[in-house]
Amino acid sequence: MGTDGPSLSKRARESRGEKGGVLGIVYTSSALPTAGTSQLEYLGGSWPPFISETPSPGALLSFDRIIPHLFNDAPPAVQQALAQQHIPTSANVFRTGVLPPLWADERLESRRVWLLALQDATFPPEAARMFLGGSGVEWEVVEGGRALWCRDAAWVGC
């Protein structure tokens, strides 16, 4: 999530006399590209082996080669169900620079939590910690698995 407009944080919106806004953010993604950086640039200019892309124009990106392993900490039946829900995404999205990300908003200081995936089949925990260190902001890190939202929804909710 990002915006090139005014901050969406609740504190900033209140200072502008507006109601509502983002109180905090729980991040479960694997990468943290900064404003203007594309996901492809963030990963060094080439796709890692678990990402495949269809030809352009109209290129779609997917994790075809490792789909079952994306949810390797979930029960087998859940893994299968989630794998069937896997859908391709516009490759263009990964080739263009991201908007200023919401997680970098200074008004969310001390209100960011990272669910560190200990059993991630895409990026190992060491890589995730490297991403966190390079983000330039402080995170509260909570260790878990990649498919926590389905394996232990109650825990994520807490």
Partner: protein, 138 residues
């Protein structure tokens, strides 16, 4: 009563309407007559009212919309529950999926939040499974 499902995002919107208009008017307003008893039961349960009250309300609603007296009695009981006030100050939980993922994967978490009285919903990314992949940028 069936388990709470993702429908509670819809039901939470109804809870907001309650805050504006009051539970009784919400229940008896003809504009809402088309709403299913199922969704109404979800909404009631979501507000942490006792399951017994939720079942009574569900039954009153399914017995016929004309049964206003019955609904009024139950609504009075419901309106005294402190959970209604708690609901009004809880934040909304918005779940945004990443690449190659639809909002369905968050159904279990959405259910947990809703059962706890939070308004929660998962959204779809326009760039996911698009008809024109080149139309989208980051």
């Amino acid at each position: 009563m069936e388990p709470i499902t993702n429908e509670c995002a819809y039901s939470s919107a109804s809870a907001t309407e309650y805050n504006q208009h009051g539970l009784l008017s919400w229940l008896t307003d003809k504009r809402y007559a088309a709403r299913s008893a199922h969704a109404l039961a979800h909404w009631t349960h979501q507000l942490s009212a006792s399951a017994h009250l939720a079942e009574l309300l569900y039954k009153a609603w399914t017995d016929g919309h004309h049964n206003v007296a019955s609904i009024e009695t139950i609504a009075t009981q419901l309106s005294t529950t402190s959970s209604l006030n708690a609901m009004a100050i809880k934040p909304t939980i918005l779940l945004v999926p990443g690449a190659c993922t639809g909002p369905e994967v968050f159904d279990p978490v959405v259910s947990v939040f809703c059962a706890a009285g939070y308004e929660a919903l998962a959204v779809a990314q326009a760039s996911a499974n698009p008809t024109d992949p080149d139309a989208y940028t980051a």
